[in-house]
């Protein structure tokens, strides 16, 4: 079906802004995010904590606190999601789109049996009887690779390990065959040994069921090989977005480059020093009118401090918000002039050996 009509995206987000009024001032958590997600595809949203990726996900699922101020358009299959949420339309969230949370230790209700928690969705949305729903819960647990599913349904979350709990959460999310699954750091809180299993499981389920997925992570390595498209977020904006191949091998934004450099690689020599990104993410209250990454960027020039760079190009193409993109002549020129000066326009010291294209 997707082959016949690939034209309209399943989920389309345009110019999404989210603000939280606080006592210290308004936090600009998301500042104009736009992306498209097509049926059966995976979009990875990558960024540090505080980049606005989780807030974006929560906005899509209508999970923000009431105080949040949201503007922009979120369209799912031609329908305005925020209007659906406001009208309290039944059987949309949980059936069409659903979400898997970061921490399986806290995202299951501690006082309910896991079987009940899975069955509950089936009973409410699909009108299954208690016994039918429990049978389906066993099948779902089997699908997500839970050992002894028939016994597990009558166990409580505290009787399961983190990895098994996350399988329960995934089974719960899959119960009503959603078309879109938002996975918010689905493996961050589980043991490293289990992470790959869970990610592969999610990927396999997505392919088998023709689901679309938004995979939110701080780890570009997680996105690699699993995402069709990647959007890199920084300070509430998408700073670079492209298909995965382009983004990993021909990135333009210095932040994407810096993120990739900060990941340890298996083929690095032993005791190889990672390149951490200097400095910290900016405050989201009253951000200065400049490229948010400029203070940490080794390419920064004076024009970077003169305003927030626009995301270039059309939605769906390789887009980046940088005046001196890495891998281009402008970027090379910026880098060499900063090296010559020993510091960037924002005052970050640059040594001859430190990073860059060299």
């Amino acid at each position: 079906m997707a082959d016949l009509a690939p034209s309209a995206p399943l989920l389309s987000v345009r110019d999404l802004h989210v603000q939280f009024p606080t006592e210290r001032g308004t936090v600009n958590a998301v500042n104009g995010v736009s992306f498209d997600l097509y049926e059966g595809k995976t979009l990875a949203i990558v960024g540090e904590s505080g980049s606005g990726k989780s807030v974006t996900a929560k906005t899509l699922m209508n999970l923000l606190p009431r105080t949040a101020q949201v503007s922009g358009e979120v369209t799912y299959d031609g329908r305005d999601v925020r209007a659906l949420a406001a009208e309290k339309v039944k059987h949309f969230f949980g059936v069409q789109m659903t979400m898997v949370f970061q921490d399986p230790m806290t995202s299951l209700n501690p006082v309910k049996k896991v079987g009940e928690q899975i069955a509950e969705t089936l009973r409410y949305h699909l009108g299954r009887s208690r016994s039918e729903a429990l049978e389906e819960a066993v099948e779902l647990l089997d699908v997500v690779g839970m050992p002894e599913p028939a016994r597990r349904v009558s166990q409580y979350p505290h009787e399961l390990s983190g990895g098994l709990r996350q399988r329960v959460v995934i089974a719960m999310a899959l119960a009503c065959q959603p078309r879109l699954l938002i996975a918010d750091e689905p493996t961050t809180a589980v043991d490293v040994t289990v992470q790959k299993h869970l990610l592969d499981l999610l990927d396999e389920l997505r392919r088998n069921r023709g689901m679309s997925m938004i995979l939110i992570t701080h780890d570009l390595g997680v996105a690699h090989g699993r995402a069709d498209d990647v959007a890199v977020m920084y300070a509430g904006r998408v700073v670079e977005t492209a298909d995965a191949r382009t983004l990993f091998f021909d990135m333009r934004h210095p932040y994407t480059e810096a993120l990739l450099r900060s990941i340890p690689r298996i083929d690095d020599p032993v005791h190889h020093r990672l390149d951490p990104i200097p400095g910290r993410p900016p405050e989201l209250i009253d951000p200065p009118d400049e490229c948010a990454f400029a203070p940490r960027c080794i390419y920064a020039q004076s024009d970077c401090l003169g305003g927030v760079p626009e995301l270039s190009g059309l939605v769906g193409l390789h887009r980046f918000a940088c005046l001196h993109p890495t891998g281009t002549e402008r970027g090379m020129a910026a880098m060499s002039s900063n090296r010559a000066a020993g510091a960037t326009a924002a005052g970050l010291p640059v040594t001859g050996s430190g990073g860059g294209s060299g």
Binding site: M61, F92, F101, V111, E120, Y124, A173
Partner: protein, 332 residues
């Protein structure tokens, strides 16, 4: 589980010993029980009379005053020191003999059998009223936290908490029994229906202030629970808000309420003294007031013991409720 129960029973026995010993000593040391049995005769110096040092003032030659005193002393073991009397009392208790009321020579066990059911019904109804009011009230307040309803109920609950129960009782009695005549103004204990019906106002009087404190606790705990990831998860599953409140958030938020439920029984029994007076309910509360005023210490002791028992048993029930509420408690 078996160990748990055994520990509780041991605790119950220990508490009963402590409470009755304190009560027994207090009643005996603060007043002379002999006075309550024989009246002014207790003042007689019988030893002096026997020795011929004091003149015997007996009017009726058939029964000498000092014989009466001696008989009373023997009957109530008043010639023994207090610790011995306590042991004797406990021994009687073990055989189901609560002693005899000084007041009217009725066995105390009979007094309790007559008065206890009324008070128990009152207490149970008061708790039903308070939980029945507090749970929906707390849920709605937490669901719309810091909105108009929540702010209004904060004021209302502090209002209810600061109104003394005799005032609330009188107001309810005036409005609902006298003015609008919804409920009977006099106690009707002939049949169960009439009894329950005439207990409604007293139960509301006792239960409403308690509902206010339950509501405060439940609201706060619910607001905390609503921040939990599993509530977000339930929302992501597309469940409707009220279902999330009652099926997911309520149970893990009941701990404070359940704890106070156990402790509040003492306050309720205290309150029932007043409320039983206002509404003319012939219950334990009225009985203990009379008994204390008249130093009728077998009755007082029996009631004190009963209250202590209720306390320990109720807190045992509360512990069972904890483990029913949260499976993680069961595992320990």
């Amino acid at each position: 589980m078996a160990r748990f129960v055994v520990r509780r029973v041991v605790l119950l026995v220990a508490v009963l010993f402590a409470v009755t010993f304190l009560g027994f000593s207090a009643m005996n040391l603060l007043g002379d029980p002999l006075v309550n049995v024989v009246g002014v005769l207790a003042e007689l110096d019988c030893e002096g009379i026997e020795a011929g040092l004091v003149e015997d003032t007996t009017v009726d030659a058939a029964s000498r005053d000092c014989d009466t005193v001696a008989a009373a002393k023997a009957q109530y073991h008043l010639d023994q020191p207090v610790p011995v009397r306590y042991v004797l009392w406990v021994g009687d208790l073990a055989t189901g003999d609560f002693g005899t009321s000084f007041q009217n020579d009725q066995p105390v066990s009979q007094v309790i059998r007559e008065k206890l059911p009324e008070t128990l019904i009152l207490l149970v109804m008061a708790q039903i009223v308070s939980l029945g009011v507090a749970i929906p009230w707390g849920v709605i307040a937490a669901y719309r936290a810091n909105r108009a309803f929540d702010r209004g109920s904060t004021v209302a609950s502090f209002g209810l908490l600061s109104v003394p129960n005799f005032a609330l009782g009188v107001v309810l009695l005036y409005l609902l029994a006298l003015r609008w005549q919804v409920f009977p103004s006099a106690y009707e204990g002939d049949n169960l229906g009439g009894l329950v019906f005439s207990m409604v106002l007293p139960a509301v009087t006792l239960g409403l202030p308690l509902a206010a404190s339950y509501q405060r606790l439940l609201r706060t705990d619910l607001i905390t629970t609503l921040q939990e990831d599993f509530v977000h998860m339930a929302r992501a599953k597309g469940l409707p808000p009220l279902r999330i409140m009652f099926r997911h958030a309520l149970r893990p938020s009941m701990f404070s309420v359940i704890t106070v439920f156990g402790v509040s029984t003492g306050a309720l029994i205290g309150g029932s003294l007043v409320v039983e007076q206002i509404f003319g309910i012939p219950g334990i509360g009225r009985e203990i007031v009379t008994a204390v005023v008249r130093d009728d210490f077998p009755v007082v002791l029996a009631i004190v013991m009963l209250v202590a028992c209720t306390f320990v048993v109720l807190n045992f029930v509360v512990d069972l409720l904890y483990s029913w509420l949260d499976p993680r408690v069961r595992a320990r």
